[in-house]
Symmetry: C2
Subunit: 112 residues, 2 copies
DNA sequence: CCTTATACTAACCTTTTGGTGGGTAACCTA
DNA sequence: TAGGTTACCCACCAAAAGGTTAGTATAAGG
């Protein structure tokens, strides 16, 4: 019984961990956005221009979510016209190599 | 113009690659299913019992999708009651280490 | 004083994903 | 002959994800 409850608990933790990962990774554009910020911070408009296929609403929404998750951070300069920059957080930079490796997964399954 | 079209093409390839990756990874239960097959093949019913939270329909559906993607394979033994086993394909085993690393991502963002 | 630029918000709609509750075939055992 | 076991299928439904279109504040530039 004790062992069972320990097993259950481990499963629950694994599920939590995986859920968090999926929150960060899933969503059609999240990885794409993260990869755009690999080297430097990027303004909102610049992101729009670099990923023209994503709709405005979704981009804003995804950026907000990634900020809430702690993957990226937002810096607002009180200027007009407004200037806002997005960049990776420390944690974001920490996991970036793993996320970049995910390309290998896609490549492996696209090979003939 | 040549450079632009080359850039566009690269972007398209990146998008294809990422899409393929997301197909494999996303979905509430896909990673979970893949991880269950790390060491040995597993029967359908065994998977059901190991992941009780997933509904029957969704499990079947996810298994089918993973087979179609080439991540896992299905072996049917013509017995009654039926026996069906799922296991990782060669490609599946190849990318498994990368997928396992994804746990690190979740852990990083769950830390206090 | 009208336009332009930037970084958004809000209302609304469609598609995709995940889930429930039933049913099925085939053989074995009691 | 009734019930158990296994690995599914089908019709239907709710919620989440993704997308379109229009509108906003502010200041600088012509």
């Amino acid at each position: 019984m004790n062992e069972l409850s320990r097993t259950l608990k481990t499963d629950e933790i694994t599920q939590l961990v995986l859920k968090k990962t999926l929150d960060i990774v899933c969503g059609k554009w999240r990885l794409y956005i993260i990869f755009q910020l690999t080297d430097q911070a990027c303004r909102y408009g610049e992101l729009r221009r670099r990923i023209p296929e994503v709709s405005e609403k979704v981009l804003v929404q995804e950026l907000k979510e990634l900020v809430a998750l702690g993957v990226i951070e937002k810096t607002t300069y009180g200027e007009t016209p407004p200037r806002v920059e997005y960049s990776l957080t420390e944690r974001g930079r920490k996991v970036l190599p793993i996320l970049l490796q995910l390309k290998t997964v896609g490549e492996t399954f696209l090979e003939v």
